[in-house]
C-alpha cells in the first residue's frame, strides 16, 4: 500500500494536477459559499469545463469542486444560518448560535479542523478498503452486479430524503431515461421519436444540469429570498484549548458515523451529519445545550459529512456503483472520459485511482489553508445578490451543454429536462434517485440480459448464488425498513431542518 500511495502522490503532486486540484477546491469553495448553489449544481455546471482535461486531472478537479463546495456550505451555515447544501443543515443549529454569541471564529475553525480530520481518515479508508473490495468484486458475475445495482437503487430511494414510493418511481423513470437511444444488442433506437440527436441517448450533462441547476434556479426565484449576513467581520478567534478538547471526541465519533453512512447507498453526507448530531445529543451529559451553541454540535456533523463525502467514493471508484447523485456525476464524468467504471479501474489504471486518493488528502489540506485565512473574503461573497448570480448560472448551463456537443438541440433538451425537474421538485419528488437510475440504466439492462441468458431464463439463480442472495436480502430489508415507522419518523425529521439550498 505504501508503494501505491507513493505512486498516487507522485501523480497528484505533479504541477499540473496540483494546479487542477487547487482550481477545483478554490472554485468549489467559492461556489459553495455563494447563496443558492449546492455542490451538485456546482459540479453540474462546471463539469463540461473539465472534459478537455486528461482523465486524472479532470477527476481530481471534480473531486476538489465537490469537497470544496461541501466546505463552503458549512461556512454559510455558520455565518448566515443558510446551509449552502443539505449536509450542512445540521451545522446551522449550533454553528449559527455560536456566531450570534460572537464565537463565529472558533465555530469556523472547529468546523474546518473537524472536516480536515475526517477527510484524512476518509482518504485513508479509501486506500485501505478500496483495493480489496475491488479485487473481491472482480469475481462478480452478472447476477451479483444486478443484485448490487438493485440494492443501490432501492437504497437511494428508501434512505434518501423524501417519500420512498416517489423515490422508487423516480428510479424507474431514471432507468427509462437511461435507455433512450440505440440499444447496444440489437441496434434498435428506443424512444428516439425520430430526433437524430436522441439516437446516441440523452447526454449526461443535459440530464444533470437540467435536473439540478435549471430546476433549482426556478425554485429559488419562485421563493422569497430573505437573507441577512449576521456577522460582518469575523474576529480572528482561534478556538481555545477547552474548545478543542470539547470538540475532539465528537469529531472522532462523527467521523466514524460518517464513514459508515458514506458507504451505504443513498444516505450520503446529509443523513450522516444528522445521525452524528443525534448521537452527540444523546450521549451528552447536558443535552439542553444543543441548539444553543454547543461546540460538539458543530464538530460532529461537520466531521460526519466530510467523512461520508470521502467514503462515498469507495463504492463509486471500486464497484462503479454510485451511492449519491454527486457520485453519479463522478461516474458520468469517468464514462465521458472513456473510462469504464468498475472493479477493473484499480488494477488497470492504478495511477488514476491512487492519484485521486492522494489528491483528496492534498485537497483537504488546501481547504484548511485556503479557508481559515480567507474567511473574510467568503463573508463578502455572501453579499452578492441572487439576481446577479442566476443569469450567470443559466449561462454556464447553456454554454456548458453547447460546448459538449456543439449542438443547440442539447441546450433545448436541457431546458426541457429543467421544466420536468421543476415540476417533479414541486411535487416533492427528489431528483437524486432519478440521476442514479439514469446512470445505471444501460448497465443494469446489460447485466440482466447476460444473467438471464447464462441462467437459461431462470431467475432463481439470483437467489442461489450466495453473494447475489446477500444483496437481495439487503434489498428486501431496505424495502421492509420503508414500512417501518421508526425510520419514517426519522426521515420526516431529517426532511425538516430548515430551508435547503
Amino acid at each position: 500500500m505504501i508503494e501505491n500511495l507513493f505512486l498516487g502522490f507522485t501523480v497528484a503532486l505533479s504541477l499540473q494536477n496540483l494546479a487542477y486540484c487547487f482550481a477545483g477546491v478554490a472554485l468549489g469553495t467559492l461556489i459553495g459559499v455563494l447563496p443558492g448553489i449546492s455542490p451538485l449544481v456546482a459540479i453540474g455546471m462546471l463539469f463540461p469545463l473539465t472534459f478537455t482535461l486528461p482523465p486524472v486531472a479532470s477527476l481530481i478537479m471534480l473531486a476538489g469542486i465537490y469537497y470544496g463546495a461541501q466546505y463552503g456550505g458549512s461556512t454559510t451555515a455558520i455565518l448566515v444560518n443558510l446551509p449552502g447544501e443539505t449536509a450542512s443543515a445540521v451545522t446551522c443549529l449550533d454553528g449559527y448560535q455560536m456566531a450570534r454569541q460572537g464565537r463565529a471564529g472558533p465555530a469556523l475553525a472547529v468546523a474546518a479542523l473537524a472536516s480536515f480530520f475526517a477527510g484524512c481518515v476518509g482518504t485513508l479508508l479509501i486506500a485501505l478498503v478500496g483495493p480489496p473490495l475491488g479485487e473481491w468484486a472482480l469475481a462478480f458475475g452478472p447476477w451479483e452486479y444486478c443484485a448490487l445495482m438493485t440494492m443501490g437503487l432501492v437504497g437511494s430511494a428508501v434512505l434518501a430524503r423524501g417519500d420512498a414510493v416517489k423515490g422508487l418511481a423516480m428510479v424507474a423513470l431514471g432507468l427509462l431515461l437511461g435507455l433512450v437511444g440505440a440499444d447496444v444488442n440489437s441496434g434498435t433506437v428506443r424512444y428516439g421519436f425520430g430526433v437524430a440527436e436522441l439516437f446516441d441517448g440523452i447526454g449526461f450533462t443535459v440530464i444533470a444540469v437540467g435536473l439540478f441547476a435549471v430546476a433549482e434556479i426556478v425554485m429559488n426565484l419562485e421563493s422569497n429570498e430573505p437573507r441577512q449576513v449576521f456577522t460582518d467581520k469575523v474576529p480572528r478567534l482561534m478556538p481555545s484549548r477547552t474548545d478543542l478538547k470539547e470538540a475532539s471526541w465528537p469529531t472522532v465519533r462523527g467521523t466514524v458515523v460518517g464513514a459508515l453512512f458514506g458507504i451505504l447507498p443513498g444516505t450520503g453526507p446529509a443523513l450522516s451529519s444528522f445521525a452524528a448530531y443525534m448521537l452527540e445529543k444523546k450521549i451528552a451529559t447536558d443535552p439542553s445545550r444543543f441548539g444553543k451553541g454547543a461546540i460538539e454540535g458543530v464538530a460532529a456533523p461537520e466531521a460526519a459529512n466530510n467523512a461520508a463525502a470521502q467514503t462515498g467514493f469507495i463504492p463509486a471508484l471500486t464497484l462503479g456503483i454510485p451511492g449519491t447523485a454527486v457520485m453519479a456525476l463522478m461516474i458520468g464524468a469517468m464514462v465521458m472520459q472513456g473510462l469504464t467504471p468498475g472493479p477493473g479501474v484499480i488494477a488497470e489504471k492504478p495511477e488514476l485511482f491512487w492519484g485521486i486518493v492522494a489528491s483528496m488528502w492534498i485537497g483537504n489540506l488546501m481547504l484548511l489553508v485556503l479557508n481559515l485565512p480567507l474567511v473574510g473574503l467568503w463573508v463578502r461573497l455572501l453579499r452578492v445578490p441572487y439576481r446577479w448570480l442566476f443569469p450567470s448560472i443559466v449561462m454556464f448551463c447553456a454554454l456548458g451543454n453547447y460546448s459538449v456537443s456543439s449542438n443547440p438541440v442539447d441546450v433545448y433538451l436541457c431546458a426541457g429536462i429543467g421544466v420536468l425537474g421543476y415540476v417533479l421538485a414541486k411535487l416533492e419528488c427528489e431528483p437524486a434517485p432519478l440521476l442514479l437510475g439514469y446512470v445505471l440504466g444501460p448497465l443494469l439492462e446489460e447485466h440482466l440480459r447476460r444473467a438471464m441468458l447464462l441462467a437459461r431464463g431462470d431467475p432463481s439463480t439470483f437467489f442461489t448464488r450466495p453473494i447475489s442472495l446477500a444483496f437481495m436480502i439487503a434489498t428486501a430489508l431496505l424495502l421492509a425498513a420503508m414500512i417501518a415507522p421508526a425510520l419514517r419518523a426519522a426521515r420526516r425529521l431529517h426532511k425538516d431542518p430548515g430551508p435547503t439550498e
Partner: protein, 153 residues
C-alpha cells in the same frame, strides 16, 4: 369542501408517473420483446414502464385518499423566462454567434427574476460575456463564432 385534487402533490405526481409509464409501455410494443432468456430491446423498457405505472397508480390512489387541500402554486414566470432564455441561446448561437446569444440569454433570464434593473443587467451581461469569451474561446479554444462571420477578436 371537496378535496382539490389539482393541489395534491401525490395525485399529480402519480398521474405524471402513470402517464409516462403507460406511454413507455405502449411505445415499447414496437420493439422486439423476446423471452426471459433472450431479452429483446422491448423487454426491459416494458418492465420498467409497468413498474413506473404501478407506482404512479399507487400515488394517485394515495392522493385521492389523503385529500390534500393546500393549494399548489407554480412559478410560471421564472419557469417561462429561464426556459426561453436557454432556447433563445441555442437558437441564436448557430445563427448569430456567441455574443448576441449571451446578450439574449442574460436579458431573458433576468426578466424572470424578482426585480429587473436595466443598468445592472447590462453591466452583468458585459462582464460575464467577456468572461465567457475569455474562457471558452481563448482558453478552451472552442471554434465558436462571436458575431456573424467573426471568430476571433
Amino acid at each position: 369542501m371537496k378535496p382539490n385534487l389539482l393541489g395534491s402533490k401525490d395525485f399529480l405526481a402519480g398521474l405524471l408517473f402513470l402517464a409516462i409509464g403507460a406511454g413507455a409501455m405502449v411505445v415499447a410494443r414496437g420493439y422486439h420483446f423476446g423471452t426471459a432468456m433472450r431479452m429483446g430491446s422491448g423487454y426491459f423498457p416494458t418492465m420498467l414502464g409497468g413498474i413506473l405505472a404501478a407506482f404512479g397508480l399507487f400515488l394517485v390512489l394515495r392522493g385521492i385518499k389523503t385529500k390534500e387541500k393546500a393549494a399548489l402554486t407554480w412559478g410560471w414566470k421564472p419557469l417561462a423566462f429561464i426556459t426561453v432564455s436557454m432556447v433563445l441561446f441555442g437558437f441564436l448561437m448557430t445563427r448569430l454567434g456567441l455574443v448576441p446569444a449571451l446578450v439574449a440569454l442574460f436579458f431573458a433570464a433576468a426578466l424572470g427574476g424578482r426585480e429587473f434593473r436595466f443598468g445592472e443587467v447590462l453591466a452583468l451581461t458585459a462582464a460575464m460575456t467577456a468572461f465567457a469569451v475569455g474562457v471558452f474561446i481563448y482558453v478552451l479554444k472552442l471554434p465558436y463564432q462571436l458575431f456573424p462571420g467573426i471568430y476571433f477578436l
